[in-house]
């Protein structure tokens, strides 16, 4: 609880707020695990959209960190891109062919949220910085806008991770208009 309290205020989370959390690139994975652990401990079902590590590896890392695998489901944009095919596992993992396919990604988000309708859900997007490899910032902005709109419509809280340095101030400025809080967690 300490860390969560230090990064994301549970009360704000309870208000279904949306957060942009800026992390140093080297701490990105660690911060991911810490946030999942702490937010899930607050009774939230975490939906992790991963653009970096595959579902299989993240599951291991979460388990090692004492995170109940049942409290997390994934939208995995990495695995199919590498191994070619992978079957979706309802309420556990949904694969998207590659992170540039924002339409599929949007559909996946919608469906996963539907699967967890009625639950106390928090979505974690890891990470905006990785998406910059494949997409121009205006396209990313549009997608984040789409997702945040969906979260607000469905009354769901969300956390977006991004590397704290090297983001264009104009891009950061756009992102801040979509979220409730920007937290620099270092």
């Amino acid at each position: 609880m300490t860390l969560v309290a230090a990064i994301v205020n549970p009360e704000d989370l309870a208000k279904k707020q949306i957060f942009l959390i800026l992390v140093s690139a080297a701490n990105m994975r660690q911060r991911n695990i810490e946030l999942i652990k702490e937010i899930s401990s607050l009774g939230y079902h975490m939906i992790v959209i991963t653009t970096n590590f595959p579902y299989s590896v993240l599951t291991k890392l979460y388990s090692e960190s004492g995170i109940d695998p049942k409290s997390v489901s994934f939208i995995d944009t990495v695995t199919r891109n590498s191994v070619g095919s992978a079957e979706n596992i309802p309420r556990v993992v949904r694969y998207v062919n590659n992170p540039t396919n924002l339409t599929d990604l949007g559909i996946a988000v919608t469906e996963v949220l539907k699967e967890n309708t009625g639950e106390k859900v928090c979505i974690l997007y890891d990470s905006i910085s990785t998406m910059l490899i494949y997409l121009a910032s205006p396209n990313i902005s549009k997608f984040i806008h789409f997702v945040t709109n969906k979260l607000r419509l469905m009354d769901i809280s969300g956390v977006f991770l991004a590397a704290e340095k090297g983001l264009d101030p104009m891009f950061v400025s756009q992102l801040t208009t979509f979220v409730d809080q920007v937290i620099d967690s270092g």
Partner: protein, 493 residues
């Protein structure tokens, strides 16, 4: 030959020969050469007449049939430098006055030729050499008289050297003037037509002098000639002269030349003369037209203001950039209110302009944002200079529309920022992912398949970053129009 002789009304000697005749007739009777001045007659009237001859402002000599000089007045002494004592009673002075044998023979032959026809000559011009070695031009007139049965010749010589020099100088000034000079008599006959007139019009003196039809040749189009004639007549009716009247003449070669005329009337009556001076301003007009064309067609806004800020010049670019036409702007000073409709902004830039002009009298690359007639904003970069034209101070303002440049710079900056972001962050992420993968492998936490998935993922990421960089280079190579040239060179280099 009558007693009065042909010289009685000669304007050059003023009929002086007649008086000299009387004086010499009376004075010289009963005298020997050189004695007349002693006045042996004793008569007072004779002394007066002798005094007239002595003090006449022309050179007077009296000769006998053999050429022996009987009288040699004071002016003759002062012009030639030879005294009475040297001259009277002999015939030697003529050799001294004409020392060049050939010239002397020529003069003698000419005199003989004249005297063979009539026993006098008038206005014979010769050049004498004075005792001091100077040359003087003398205009000679003679008259024969009988005195006590003796034939005497009175010679009057007028020194016209100065007048000749003046005439030559005047002619030289007229001929060498770089303006067309024509002198006309009251009937319009051309009396003077200088070299510039010849070179400008192509018509020589021979073709023009003494005639009246040059104007028909210079203005061959009857309609144009009629227009000009009416125009000139109306001016002359009011002022008897005209100044800076521009007309277009057609030269002998058929070329058109623009002449700026000024006229002056001299003398009156039959001796009245009209001096017409024409300056060829064709080149000046061409330059003016060229300058106007340059200003008019420049791709930058050019405006000229007087000291009251009234707009005097507003070129095509000014119209295009602002949307305001010449007719809306020229002669007015309120265009700035339209271009800067926001009073606060207008006040701010006015203050800045006033401060800059106070300090430096001009400004360079001063950027303002105008609102054009269509309501769009344009960014202009202004440069001004104070100019003096026709002894009037004016302000020339030149403005470059840098809106696109500024937009392109902003676009380029955004593009560079985007590219920097899309290279730096991903590379850091790839680095950290690989490091993390290595840690997981070292800790034995990954299956072979997971290792492959993670590493291949990073390979894909790296490949995409490389593709992004390539796209950036391609954009430069294709010279994307949004990237200003200066930046493109910087990026390429």
């Amino acid at each position: 030959m009558s007693e009065q002789g042909p010289v009685s009304g000669n304007p050059h000697n003023g009929g002086i020969l007649q008086n000299i005749h009387i004086a010499s007739t009376r004075t010289l009777k009963r005298t020997n050469p050189g004695e007349y001045m002693t006045g042996t007659s004793g008569a007072q009237s004779e002394c007066i007449e002798a005094g007239i001859m002595e003090n006449a402002l022309v050179m007077i000599a009296v000769l006998d049939k053999k050429g022996t000089i009987f009288a040699w007045n004071h002016t003759a002494e002062s012009i030639t430098g030879y005294t009475k004592a040297e001259v009277i009673g002999n015939t030697n002075v003529w050799k001294s006055l004409y020392p060049d044998k050939d010239y002397r023979h020529n003069v003698t032959a000419k005199i003989a030729e004249i005297l063979a026809k009539k026993n006098y000559f008038e206005n014979l011009e010769t050049t004498i050499k004075t005792q001091s070695g100077d040359f003087r031009i003398i205009l000679w007139n003679t008259k024969e008289i009988l005195s006590d049965g003796e034939l005497r010749v009175i010679i009057v010589g007028m020194d016209v050297t100065r007048q000749k020099e003046m005439d030559a100088f005047q002619q030289s000034v007229i001929d060498n003037a770089n303006v067309l000079i024509a002198v006309l008599d009251p009937k319009g006959k051309v009396l003077v037509w200088n070299e510039a007139a010849e070179s400008i019009t192509g018509y020589t003196k021979d073709e023009v002098i003494g005639k009246r039809d040059i104007w028909k040749q210079l203005y061959p189009d009857p309609e144009y000639r009629r227009t000009i004639t009416i125009w000139i007549n109306s001016i002359i009716k009011e002022r008897r002269l005209f100044e800076n009247l521009d007309t277009t003449i057609t030269t002998k070669k058929g070329e058109k030349r623009i002449i700026r005329w000024n006229t002056q009337e001299i003398n009156t009556g039959a001796r009245a003369r009209e001096i017409a001076i024409g300056r060829d301003i064709t080149r000046q007009r061409e330059l003016d037209a060229f300058r106007e064309s340059v200003i008019e067609n420049a791709h930058i806004l050019i405006t000229v203001l007087d000291l009251q800020s009234n707009v005097l010049v507003w070129n095509k670019a000014a119209e295009a950039i602002t949307g305001y036409s010449k007719s809306e702007v020229i002669g007015k000073h309120d265009i700035w209110k339209y271009l800067y409709p926001d009073p606060d902004y207008r006040r701010t830039i006015t203050k800045r302009i006033t401060r800059i002009i106070k300090e430096e009298r001009y400004f360079e690359n001063f950027e303002t944002t105008i609102v054009n007639k269509g309501g769009s904003q344009r960014i202009l970069s202004w440069n001004t200079r104070e100019i003096d034209e026709d002894s009037q101070t004016r302000e020339i303002a030149i403005a470059r529309d840098i809106t696109e440049q500024r937009q392109a710079e902003a676009a380029l900056l955004a593009y560079i920022s985007e590219m920097a972001m899309r290279v730096k962050q991903p590379v850091e992420i790839i680095r950290d992912n690989i490091q993390e993968t290595a840690n997981l492998i070292r800790d034995g936490k990954l299956t072979k398949e997971e290792m492959v998935t993670l590493l291949e993922g990073q390979v894909r990421n790296a490949t995409q970053v490389a593709a992004n960089v390539k796209e950036f280079q391609k954009m430069i190579a294709e010279k994307d129009k949004e990237i200003p040239e200066a930046y493109r060179k910087f990026l390429e280099g």
